[in-house]
């Protein structure tokens, strides 16, 4: 407790201007920056997978299962930062028992469960079902045990059953696209609907969140595809990689347009909150917004991939560039979440002053936990790729 107060006294001494006395402490910290980031990665990876499944962009086939498994790994971890942030986490079941119909946050439990069970798990199951049956007959040990259980007692692997799997998988993916939109869009709405906070309150917020989510998800799958291929010492399908980069480029343009529109609109109208927001962006957020999010996370990737659309250099150069671009896009989108969540709490609702954000490295809300929640899904993904290797599937999807 004493340490907590010490940290608050320090923040009090760093107050710039006037803040309401209760605003000294930022209530939503790194964990709340992380949650939209993770669900964004899930939604984005899923949308990339659905591009192949629903819109029949066959060239993306090598990354289809990879994208789904990535989405699953991150989705399994998604709740953790949220629950660990609650002051009374043992009561979190209440969100299922008495969800408030007027609260955007109350949708969380239901949309998460729906998306996890009905969309993601079922889609992966239908896609792998035939392979599970085949693998259950040919493997040993833990894997055999797992495959036998997961087939749920159905052992058909003929053409007809494969066709049905395909149809149902298609149907679920179609259902999954709006579900993915809701899974991440509602987070944008949580922020966008807070009329008390002028930095958050904009109609564009759910849409901006969604498109930046797609950007981050696509970049993630791109990077993971390259890393997995490198680990497996397998040649990368350049056509696939070029197409992923192309989609990343297009969605990044839309995302950048939306965010610029929001800012231009703000600057032009210059209503009551603009004076403080101007100081916020040019001051406390100058590094995280102007440099990390805009320059590093948007302008450079747009420039690089855009250039490749006009002139395609050698494969080796493209691969290095894509990897580099994927990483900086991921960093840039993390900072986009940072700028929204932390930025919105740095200035007072009195529009007259600033508090400060002093992040810690240890403890439940520190950078350490951020690293844990980001590395854990990668470990889960490694396990899933070992358990259900996409490259060992019998190719029956003609």
């Amino acid at each position: 407790m004493e340490e907590h107060y010490q940290h608050l006294y320090q923040a009090l001494s760093q107050v710039d201007g006037y803040i309401y006395p209760n605003e000294i402490d930022l209530h939503w910290g790194l964990m709340i920056v992380l949650y939209p980031y993770i669900t964004g990665l899930v939604a984005g990876a899923f949308i990339l997978a659905s591009l192949e499944r629903v819109f029949n962009i066959k060239v993306l086939k090598p990354t289809y299962e990879l994208a789904l498994l990535t989405a699953l790994s991150f989705l399994l971890v998604a709740t953790m930062p949220l629950v660990s942030h609650l002051q009374s986490p043992l009561r979190s079941y209440e969100i299922f028992m008495t969800p408030n119909p007027t609260s955007a946050m109350a949708i969380f439990g239901f949309v998460y469960l729906w998306y996890l069970m009905v969309v993601l798990l079922l889609e992966i199951w239908f896609d792998y079902r035939r392979d599970f049956v085949i693998w259950s007959k040919t493997s040993t040990g833990f894997k055999k045990f797992f495959y036998k259980i997961i087939t749920l007692g159905i052992n058909d692997f003929d053409e007809k059953s494969a066709k049905l799997d395909d149809k149902l998988g298609y149907f679920i993916t179609v259902l999954g696209i709006p579900s993915a939109f809701i899974l991440h869009g509602y987070v944008g709405f949580i922020f966008g609907s807070v009329k008390a906070n002028p930095w958050w309150s904009t109609v564009l917020m759910p849409v901006i969140f969604l498109f930046s989510a797609m950007v981050s998800g696509i970049a993630l799958v791109m990077v993971i595809y390259m890393v997995v291929s490198w680990v497996r010492k397998v040649k990368i399908d350049m056509e696939c990689l070029d197409t992923i980069a192309k989609y990343l480029f297009y969605i990044l343009i839309i995302d950048f347009t939306l965010e610029s529109l929001d800012q231009i609109h703000r600057i032009y109208e210059a209503e009551e909150s603009f004076d403080i927001i101007e100081v916020l962006v040019s001051g406390k957020l100058s590094i995280t917004l102007l440099i990390m999010q805009v320059f590093l996370g948007t302008i450079i990737p747009l420039g690089v991939i855009g250039f490749f659309q006009v002139y395609k250099p050698a494969e080796k150069i493209r691969k290095t560039a894509y990897f580099f671009v994927g990483i900086i896009v991921l960093i840039g989108i993390f900072f986009m979440r940072w700028n929204v969540v932390i930025g919105g709490q740095l200035f007072s609702k009195s529009l007259s002053g600033f508090t400060s954000f002093n992040a810690v490295y240890s403890g439940l809300e520190g950078y350490g936990m951020v690293a844990v929640w980001l590395i854990l899904p990668l470990l889960i993904l490694t396990f899933l790729l070992w358990l259900m290797p996409p490259w060992k599937k019998a190719d029956i999807h003609k």
Partner: protein
């Protein structure tokens, strides 16, 4: 194959039904009576302990002081304004609330010169000019401030 589909479908329906059943069990009683909240919480909020008793309560024992105060300029100031109940001592004032220091800092809470306070009903004093270094109560009776003690 369709057998499996129906199995999946029915297990979904089963899950939803079990969920709704558990939800009804775990929902606290009195929830939803007046709105989307636990109605018994209204009673919980009513049951808190009160520490401030109100001037009338003070007057029942401290009649003389109350009379004195009611005839002078501090009549509009309630007893507990200066004598705040100390909760770790007791909530009944049989145990004396600690003596209030009648010094410049304390009385200055209302009476120190501040341009934001002019013409609002509390006489303003610049304490540098007015008896700096002394305690207010050396000259003023706090319950009857215009009754000045002889110097």
């Amino acid at each position: 194959m369709p057998k499996l589909i129906f199995r999946l479908f029915f297990s979904f329906v089963l899950f939803v039904s079990v969920f709704i059943l558990i939800q009804q069990q775990l929902k606290p009683e009195s929830f939803g009576k007046y709105g989307h909240y636990r109605a018994n919480s209204i009673d919980d909020n009513m049951m808190r302990t009160s520490y401030y008793k109100g001037e009338e309560k003070c007057s029942t024992c401290h009649e003389e002081v109350a009379d004195l105060k009611s005839n002078d300029l501090h009549s509009g100031v309630s007893c507990e304004s200066c004598h705040s109940p100390k909760i770790d001592a007791s909530i009944e004032c049989e145990v004396m609330p600690p003596k209030v220091e009648g010094n410049l800092e304390f009385c200055g809470q209302c009476h120190a010169m501040n341009l934001g306070r002019l013409k609002k009903g509390a006489p303003q004093l610049d304490f540098k000019e007015h008896k700096e270094g002394q305690n207010c109560i050396e000259c003023h009776n706090p319950h009857a401030p215009w009754e000045l003690k002889e110097n």
